[in-house]
């Protein structure tokens, strides 16, 4: 689960993949939130040329893609030769709309909160 890759599905039936089929990498900041319909995370082993097997998907049915939140949150301890990576994904809460934040653990365990909480895992994402 540490190698989940994102795909942005737009409301004009186009997509932006984190890594194109030819290997070209697109930046998360390149996502056009004005037409974002869904933000999906795919397992590295899943086929990325379809929308059939996302591990996780966040939909923006109200054309509110600007509320998207995503980052990898890495924990790296001195003396350990690897980092533990959570994916933090969800929708920001606004005055009008309740959001949610998911933390996806390396083993696939998924924790969900209504909003950011300063607990070490669900801390606010800076984007």
């Amino acid at each position: 689960m540490q190698n989940l890759k994102w795909l942005a599905q737009y409301n004009d039936n186009t997509t932006l993949k984190q890594i194109d089929d030819d290997g070209t990498k697109n930046a998360y900041s390149d996502i056009d939130r004005s037409k974002l319909l869904a933000f999906m995370l795919f397992d590295e082993s899943a086929v990325l040329d379809g929308l059939t097997k996302p591990r996780f998907a966040v939909y923006f049915d109200d054309n509110d893609g600007e509320r998207l939140v995503w980052t990898r949150r890495a924990f790296q301890t001195v003396g350990q030769n690897h980092s533990v990576i959570f994916h933090i994904v969800g929708k920001k809460t606004t005055e009008q709309k309740q959001g949610f934040i998911m933390a996806i653990a390396p083993d696939g365990q998924t924790l969900v909160r209504d909003n950011f909480v300063d607990d070490g895992l669900f801390d606010e994402v800076i984007q």
Partner: protein, 181 residues
Amino acid sequence: MPATVIINRWTGTSGAPTKTNVTSINSRLNAEDAHSTAGTANSILIPAAGTNYSFWAAFRLAISAITGGTVNNIKWFTDGANSLGTGVAANVATATSYVQATGTVGTTGNILNTTNYATLAGATASAFTYTSGSPLAVSGSSSATGDLGDFVVLQTAISTTAAQGATPQETVTFRYDDTSS
């Protein structure tokens, strides 16, 4: 792909520091300005009165590979429990630049404070006050390879009641966010 981020310990002169990658090895705080995993030649002497210190140890993240994203929101924390033993404390603060550790080799380091380390953010606090739920904030953000963020500067303090020998090992953790492609 996630960015490749490593943890370096800086030693030596500020003009030509040595950066030792301690991502996969432990790093001992002795009474010398040097990294080692198990060195005992210049251990800290237990004082007859007052407090002796390790030479301070400056840690900093570095990005060795990144594409199309940013690493930011850096935090640092311990497990919250001092397991170093009776009479042994650990103090920490962030700093915006590197200052070589000073002191009397084999006896004690100079105390870590803003007098001896001018770019220290402020007075040190016990490292164990910083936990995963209440971490130390470390300024810094980068979208390129190279050194990343402020330094985390750590020092142990040895009082008269400390026991001889190496202390138990403690673990410290960096946390950061990464949106790279």
